[in-house]
Structures are given as C-alpha cells and as structure tokens.
C-alpha cells in the first residue's frame, strides 16, 4: 500500500485542536492531583531533609540557645526520629530556635517546639498530647493533622493565607505525637518583627483551634543582587530579573516576564559551568522560581537562561549574567 496516500487520508481527519489541548491539560491536572495525594509522605520527607540541609549549611545565626540546647535536647531528639545524624548536627550548630508555646483545646495540648527561618523557608516542629488522642500511624493515614495560616490578627472568619509547603505526618513519640511543617515564604522580605501566624484545626481527627503566633528572628539572606536591571528579550518575549535571593543551599529568583508559565524554563549555570537548576527546582510560577541549590563561595557570577518552547522548538533568550558580590 502507498504510505503517502494512507497518511494523506489519515491527515484528513479533522483535529479539534482546542478540545484536544483541553483534554491534555485536564489529563495532566488530574495526574498532578493524584500524585500529590499519593506521594505525600515521600514528598514531605524529602523536603524535610532538604530543609534540614539548608539549616546545616546556611550559616545563618539564629538567636543563641547553645546552653539550653546542650542541656535540653528536645530538638535533637525530635529530629533523631527521622534523621539521626542531622538532629545531632542541628543540636551542635544551634541553627534552630527552640520554643515552648502550648495551646490547649478540646483536651489536646499542642506545643510548638522549634522554628527556623532561612531567608526563604520556615520550619516548625510541634508536639501534640492528650488522653483523647489515639492516632493510628500508618502509611495510609498521612494527613493526620490539618493546619493553615491566617492574615495578621486572628479572629472569627479570619482570612486564610496560602503558602507553598510540606508537612511531615504525626509520629508517635512516647505517649505524644510529633510532627513537622515546612513553609515557603512567598514575599521577598519578612516584615520587621514578623511572627508566623499558624493555626492547627485538626489533630488526629479532633477538631479544634490551636492558634499560634510564632516569633521569627529576622535573618537576612546571605546574598541579594539588586539595583541593576537585567532584561533579555527575543522577538516575542521578554524576561526581566527583578530580584535574586541566594542562600547557601537555596535560591529564589523573582522576575517579570510574558513567557507563559507553562512553557517558561530557567537554567542557571555558575561561572564554572555547573548547572544549578537541574534537579533542584522546588517551585515556580509567573513571578518567582525557587531552587533548592547553593552556590560555592568562589562563585563570581551566575548565568541565567530563560527559555520558551515554541512551535515545537526550544527558543532561548539571550542569557543574563549576574555578578555575585
């Protein structure tokens, strides 16, 4: 049979382009949702360890609690449950602020035991106890507590704030349960005297309101490039880097661009040609991308390659060279 003829005939089949793209988007969306539910444990675990890594190597100085930590190793023993060596390291390096805030509701005590902020991420650990609590800990029961953030000033009908984040399911620890949460701060800079507005609304099936205002020490990010405008464009799109925050092991890039977010891709190389962006993307949207990656202290500049996919091809915009001071 003649292939050309066959193909020509098949290509006469009219393609409902719009509907086709719409079912593709829907397929991806369903997949994304299913994946999110299915992989919650793994995801949280890996992010938690990433968060721990950030603390370990970021070198940020939190409020000094050396002596307290040395004698009351609450945090150490908490992290030991998940990552023994890291918990010990944390204890040694004093990179987490120990806290002891307890709120009681419906017979359940919730105590926030520690907090950190590293310029992009918050980490909170907490302990829940109460005679009423009887939580089955298994791989199926991952969402064994609920929390949300609220806008400044908590009252009835308070506005919930949505940040990116991950949580570690409750684990049994003696007669209590312990858990951990990691949250990404969406803005560039923390306001002065910021405290993290966190509410637990469900602990192991018990509904309630455990309201916390967790004080955060303002820790300046290690490095920030500002001032100079970095813009690159091609015949269709432009990309302007407005801000970049670089910690030891993470990087937030803020930008303005008309490249649609679903085709935008950022590649970041350091001056030695190391690809910092591959495997390290944590999140990105229309204005910001976060990478869980550090840079070496000897790094002089970064090169940022914004790209878009067009007409079946990758189109690279001219790279932006960002001096590191």
């Amino acid at each position: 049979m003649n292939k050309d003829w066959f193909k020509r005939k098949v290509e006469e089949i009219e393609v409902p382009k719009e509907e086709l793209f719409s079912v593709i988007d829907k397929g991806i969306e369903i997949g994304r949702k299913q994946k999110k539910n299915k992989k919650k444990t793994k995801y949280s675990l890996s992010l938690l360890s990433a968060a721990v890594m950030i603390i370990l190597s970021s070198g940020f100085v939190f409020s000094p609690v050396t002596s307290v930590l040395a004698s009351v190793p609450i945090i150490g023993s908490f992290y030991e449950n998940f990552h023994r060596s890291m918990g010990e390291e944390l204890e040694k390096k004093d990179l987490v602020t120990e806290l002891n805030q307890t709120v009681t509701d419906n017979g359940v005590d919730v105590t926030v035991t520690s907090v950190y902020y590293d310029g992009i991420f918050f980490g909170v650990t907490f302990r829940a106890s109460g005679n009423e609590l009887n939580i089955e800990i298994d791989d199926e029961n991952l969402s064994n507590y609920e929390y949300y953030l609220y806008e400044n000033g908590y009252e009835d009908g308070t506005v919930k704030v949505s940040w990116g984040g991950a949580f570690y399911p409750l684990q049994l620890d003696g007669n209590d349960y312990i858990g951990a949460i990691e949250l990404e701060y969406p803005d560039k800079e923390l306001p002065k005297d910021f405290s993290l507005p966190l509410i637990f609304s469900n602990i192991g099936g018990i509904e309630g309101e455990w309201v916390f205002q967790i004080p955060i020490e303002q820790i300046p990010p290690k490095m920030r490039t500002l001032g100079k405008e970095y813009t690159t464009k091609n015949d269709t799109f432009s990309f302007t880097l407005t801000d970049i925050i670089i910690g030891e092991t993470n990087m937030a890039i803020n930008y303005e661009t008309d490249i649609p977010v679903d085709v935008l891709k950022l590649t970041i190389l350091d001056n030695k040609g190391n690809d910092l962006s591959s495997d390290s993307i944590r999140s990105y949207d229309e204005e910001r991308a976060v990478f869980l990656t550090g840079i070496e202290s000897s790094t002089k500049y970064l090169t940022l390659y914004p790209t878009d996919y067009r007409n079946g091809e990758v189109v690279k915009l001219d790279p932006l060279k960002i001096e590191i001071r």
Partner: protein
C-alpha cells in the same frame, strides 16, 4: 523532539511533558480516531493516555523512545475502549435495531479509509496504523504489539489483503494498493 526535553520531562518537568505531549497530540488524536471513529471517544482516549503517561514517564528508560512509548500507551487505551464498547453494544437498542435491519452500506458509495479500517480485526488495524501512519519499522511494531516480527509481517500482509478487498471496489482511490 529534543532528547533533553524528554529527559527533563522524565525528571518531572511538567512544562516539558506538556510540550512533548502537545507536539504529539495530532498524531495521538488521529490514531485514537482510527480505532473508535468518533471525536468524543478519541478525546477520552487521549486524556486517559496523558494521565497514564504522566504517572509513568519516570519509568521511561530510553528518552529516544518517548513517542513510541506514548503511542503504545495510547493503543492499549484504545483497545480497552473498544472492548468496553463491545460490551455496551449488546445493551444498545439502537445499535441492535440497526444490526437487525442489516444496514449494508451502498457499494457504490465511497468507503472512507477510516471505515474500511474498522472492518479489520483490531490487531490488523494496529499493524497497519503503525506501519503506514506512524512509519514504524517492523521491529518496533513487534515491540509495541508484543508479537514476534514474523507475526507482525503476517498481520500486515493479511491486513493489506483485506483492505485491498474493501477499498479496491472503490477504484477511485488508488490504482495500486498493494
């Protein structure tokens, strides 16, 4: 298709995944259509294929086989749809009535390729679609259909003969089909 983009998709880059899928989308739709012969079912097959691909792309070992891998998922999904339709047809009164009335297409009328294909056994359809539309070599079709190469060749030969019978009645199409 860029290998690096497939690699990115395997690593979890959704934009790359979406881009690759959309690049293949016409082919996906038309292939699905060849099996089910209607828009809604074809779209359903595409959506289900995208979902399955989304969940399993990280298992894709050879990025250069992205397209083949995707079509394999699509064809299996189409098979399943056809199986389900068979079951439905038993319950579908209208179809039953049509069958009872023995609606035979007028011989003088153009028989569309899509209709002609639908008269073939599904394994012959698949062999024909992969060989003629997807331009795949026999050894790849053999992998996709989980059949030895010899069997694929037999399928192709018989499929061509049957198609010839159906289509050559319609001389206006192609003088030399086989």
């Amino acid at each position: 298709m860029e290998i690096t983009m497939v690699l990115n998709a395997i690593k979890g880059d959704e934009a790359a995944f979406e881009f690759l899928i959309k690049q293949e989308s016409n082919k996906m739709y038309r292939t699905a259509f060849l099996y089910v012969r209607n828009k809604d079912d074809a779209l359903d097959i595409v959506q289900e294929t995208v979902l399955k691909a989304y969940h399993s792309i990280h298992h894709l070992k050879k990025p250069e086989y992205f397209s083949t891998w995707l079509m394999k998922i699509l064809i299996r999904t189409a098979f399943r749809t056809l199986e389900q339709q068979k079951k439905w047809k038993v319950l579908d009164n209208e179809t039953l009535e049509n069958l009872l009335e023995q609606k035979i297409p007028e011989v003088t009328q153009n028989i569309d390729l899509v209709d002609a294909l639908s008269n073939l056994d599904v394994k012959y359809q698949t062999a024909i679609i992969l060989f003629y539309y997807h331009d795949l070599p026999i050894h790849k079709i053999s992998v996709m259909m989980d059949k030895p190469e010899g069997t694929v060749k037999t399928y192709l030969r018989r499929a061509k003969m049957e198609l010839k019978k159906i289509l050559e009645g319609e001389s206006h199409y192609e003088q030399r089909l086989v």
